[in-house]
Assembly symmetry: none
Homo-oligomer: 431 residues x 2
C-alpha cells in the first residue's frame, strides 16, 4: 500500500540514533558508508545528524529532516530494549499506527531457534511491531527488521528508510532491500574521478586551477587536502549509465597544467601506485628506516599481494645498527651525523646489498618532540633511494608533530621511489 | 576582550563542516574524538551535525546549535580556499567583524618560510582574518589558526570553538588551547579510570562484572571493547577537583576478580606499558616481523623517547631474509613452514643476536586475504620472545580481515614481552 506518489528522490539526509555516538564511544562509520551509497545513487545530501535515544529529540530531528529532504535514512534504535524507540517515533511522524508484522515475528522466532536459544524475552517481539503501510526489510544478519515508510509531510511526498545500527546488519539490509528500492526512485547518478598530486601545496594547486573550479558546471571540480598531498575531485552528473563520460577533457586540462605533480588519476594510494609500478616491471624493494621506525614498511605491508615485490626492511633506530647491519661508515656518522645526505644514501645502498633488491629506500630524520638543534630542527628528514649503480636523495623539512613528520616522511619515501624509477626509464628511453 | 559573562558550560554540541563528509569520502573521526573530550570535561552533548561548505546551511546550523546549546565546537572550513567560509560565517553569527590578526599573519609567513616556500598565494592570508573579539588559538601543525568566540545569542551567553578539519591539527589545537579554556568554564568533571585487560573476551569479562555494572551509581562502570583487548571505564562525577576520589574500592574489586588479565589501570597503551617496563630496568628490545611487516616496530616508534630501549627491527617478509639476516635454519623453514613455532623462536633468537638486545620479539603468521590452507588458515600467528638463555612462544588464531590480524598480532607481541619479563622476574625472586 503506497500513500505517496512515486516522484523522484533528489535530496536525502542521514540521521543516526545512538547515545554511544554522542559519547564518542564509537565512530560513525554508518554515516560515511551510507553517504557514499547515496552519492553513488545520485542523491544529494546536505546534512547528517546524530541524536541520542531520546524521544523528543528524535521526533524533532525526523520532522526537521522531513521538512527539508525527500529522503531520510535513519540508523539505530531498532533493537529490543526499552531505549530502542526509532520505529515507534518514525511511525508517529509518518502518521501511521504500529501493527504486528507476522512474517517479522516468525523471522525473530526462527533467528533464536538457529542460535538454539529458547528464552526469547518479551521485548524481542517488540521488533515485529511495524508501521501499518511500511515496506518491511528483513534482517538477514540479526533480529530487528527495517522499514521503508512512504508518507506525506507538509503536503509533499517523503520517504523514511529505517535500518539497524550494527554495521554488519545495516549494510546488508541496505544492499539487499533499500538500494534496489532507491534505484527505482532516482533518475540521476554521479560519476567521480580523483586526481592526486604531490609536491605542491593545496592553495598553490587551487590557484593554478581556479578558473576551472569557478566554472562549476557539469562536470564540477573540487579540491581537498590530505596529509602531505592534494586531491581534486572531478564529478559528472548523469541521468543514465549510458550517458557519455564528459570528464576526459577537464582531466586532460588539469594534466596539461599540473602533470608534473600528478601521481594518480583514480583511487590508488601512493604506496599502491609504487607497488603496481614495481610489480609490472618485476622489480623488488626493501626499506631502511630510522625516524619512521617501520612505518614505511608497515604501510607497504598493508597492501594485499605485496609479497611479489617486497623482500624486507631494516629499522636502524640505533646508530650501531646502521653501522653493523647497513654497513654505514662510522666516520660518516661522526662527521655528518645520522640525519644527513651522506648517511641516508649509505643506508639505502647498504639496505639494497642486505636484501638484494632492485630498489632500496632509506629514511633518516628528526621526528621530535626532542632531538632538534638549530642546524637540524625537528622535522628535518633525508630520504634516499638506491638502485644499481646509483642513488637519489631528497631533503625535506616537515612542519607538525611527531605523527605528522613520520606520515609525511613515509609518503615522500614512496614518492621518491616512484620519481626515481620513472626518471631512470625516461633516461633509458633517451639513450 | 570578553563579551559574555563567564557562566558555566553544561551543554555542548559538535558541528562538522565539509562536503567530503557528506559525500562519505572520509569518516567523521573528528566527531567521535571531540565527543569523548566533551564527555571527559563533563559537558553533555545531545546533537552532532554535518553540513557542507555552503554559507546558508552553515549559518542556519550555527544558529540552530546556538539556540539549544551553551557551546558549539566546529571543525573544518578554516583553510585557504574559496570554499573555506567557516570563520567568516561564525563571526557573522556572533555579530563580530573579521579583522586581520597580526600574530596569525606572522605565523603563516613563518610556516611557509620553514617549508622554504616563497610563493605564498593571496588566499593564504585569508587564514589570518579573525573575529574581532575572538581568542585566537595557534595552529602548531598547519597554517589555519582557530578561534574561541564568546557571544550572546537570544540574550544568553554562548561559546563557539572553531578548529581546523585535519585531525592532526584539530586534536593538537584542542588539547593545547580549547581544553584548558573549557576546563575553566565547566563546573563538573568526570573522573575516569581505565582498566585495560588482555586475554579475555568482552562478553566473558562483562559477565564476571555484571553485578558491578548494573549497580550504576557514582562511580559507574562501563565496558567497551577495543581491537584485541577489553577496557572498562570507571567514572566518578565530581563538582571540584578537591572532591574525594571514591573509585578505589570499585577498582580493587575488579582487580580481585580479574587481576590476571589486567595490564594497565590508567591510560597507557600496551606498547607504552612495555616501553616503561624496559626503561625502568635499563633493558633493550628489537623486533623481527614477517606478517606484521614493521607494524610492531612502527607502533613502538610512535612513542616519544623510545630510543633508550629500542635498537632496531628486521622485517623478514621474504624467506631468504629470514635465512640470511636472522639465521633461521632453511631446513626448519622447509620442514615446519614459515608460520610455525620453530621458525618464530628461531627468528626471535636470531633477531636478539643481530641487534644485541636483552629481548627480541618475532611475529610470523598469515594475514590474508590469500595464503591460508586448511592446516594453516588465515589469522594463524606465532609469536616468540627470546631472552638470554631461553625463549617463550604464543600461538593465536585471530578472526577478521588483514588489518585486524596485523593489529591484534602486534598487540599480542607486546603482551608476550610483558608477560615473559614479569614471569622471569617472579622466577628470579623465588630463587
Amino acid at each position: 500500500m503506497r500513500t505517496a506518489e512515486q516522484s523522484s528522490i533528489h535530496i536525502g539526509e542521514i540521521l543516526c540514533v545512538g547515545t554511544e555516538l554522542l559519547l564518542g564511544q564509537i565512530t560513525n562509520t554508518n554515516a560515511s558508508w551510507l553517504a557514499r551509497q547515496l552519492t553513488l545513487l545520485g542523491i544529494s545530501s546536505y546534512y547528517q545528524t546524530v541524536v541520542g535515544d531520546n524521544p523528543d529529540r528524535m521526533r524533532q530531528a525526523m520532522r526537521v529532516a522531513a521538512d527539508r529532504s525527500d529522503l531520510i535514512v535513519i540508523t539505530g534504535g531498532l533493537g529490543p530494549t526499552a531505549d530502542d524507540l526509532t520505529m515507534a517515533i518514525a511511525a508517529e511522524v509518518a502518521g501511521q499506527p504500529l501493527i504486528e508484522h507476522a512474517p517479522s515475528r516468525a523471522a525473530i522466532a526462527d533467528f533464536f531457534q538457529r542460535l538454539n536459544r529458547t528464552n526469547i524475552t518479551e521485548n524481542n517481539w517488540k521488533q515485529a511491531m511495524m508501521p501499518r503501510d511500511g515496506l518491511i526489510m528483513p534482517n538477514n544478519n540479526g533480529t530487528a527488521p527495517g522499514a521503508i515508510i512512504e508518507f506525506e509531510f507538509n503536503g509533499r511526498p517523503k520517504v523514511m528508510i529505517l535500518l539497524p545500527g550494527p554495521p554488519s546488519e545495516m549494510t546488508l539490509m541496505f544492499q539487499e532491500a533499500a538500494a534496489p528500492y532507491l534505484e527505482k526512485r532516482t533518475s540521476t547518478r554521479f560519476r567521480h574521478h580523483f586526481v592526486r598530486l604531490i609536491g605542491i601545496g593545496e592553495s598553490a594547486a587551487e590557484t593554478q586551477l581556479k578558473d576551472l573550479i569557478d566554472r562549476q558546471e557539469n562536470p564540477t571540480l573540487a579540491p581537498y587536502a590530505s596529509e602531505g598531498e592534494v586531491m581534486f575531485r572531478v564529478t559528472q552528473l548523469v541521468h543514465s549509465d549510458a550517458e557519455l563520460d564528459n570528464t576526459a577533457e577537464l582531466i586532460e586540462e588539469i594534466k596539461s597544467r599540473m602533470g608534473e605533480y600528478i601521481y594518480e588519476i583514480g583511487t590508488r594510494s601512493m604506496p599502491a601506485v609504487v607497488k603496481d609500478l614495481l610489480n609490472e616491471r618485476h622489480l623488488t624493494i626493501s626499506f631502511a628506516e630510522s625516524c619512521t621506525a617501520g612505518l614505511v614498511s608497515s604501510t607497504f605491508g598493508e597492501l594485499p599481494g605485496v609479497s611479489n615485490v617486497f623482500k624486507g626492511a631494516l629499522v636502524a633506530y640505533d646508530n650501531d645498527v646502521k653501522i653493523n647491519q647497513l654497513h654505514v661508515d662510522s666516520a660518516s656518522l661522526e662527521q655528518f651525523g645520522a640525519v644527513s645526505e651522506a648517511v641516508a644514501s649509505a643506508m639505502a645502498t647498504g639496505c639494497r646489498d642486505v636484501f638484494k633488491t632492485d630498489y632500496a629506500v632509506a629514511v633518516t630524520g628528526i621526528a621530535g618532540p626532542e632531538g632538534g638543534t638549530p642546524e637540524k630542527p625537528v622535522g628535518l628528514v633525508y630520504l634516499a633511494v638506491a638502485y644499481e649503480g646509483g642513488f637519489s636523495v631528497r631533503k625535506i623539512q616537515i612542519p607538525g608533530n611527531r605523527a605528522r613528520v613520520r606520515n609525511v616522511s613515509a609518503l615522500n619515501a614512496f614518492d621518491l621511489v616512484r620519481k626515481t624509477l620513472l626518471a631512470r626509464e625516461d633516461g633509458q628511453h633517451q639513450s
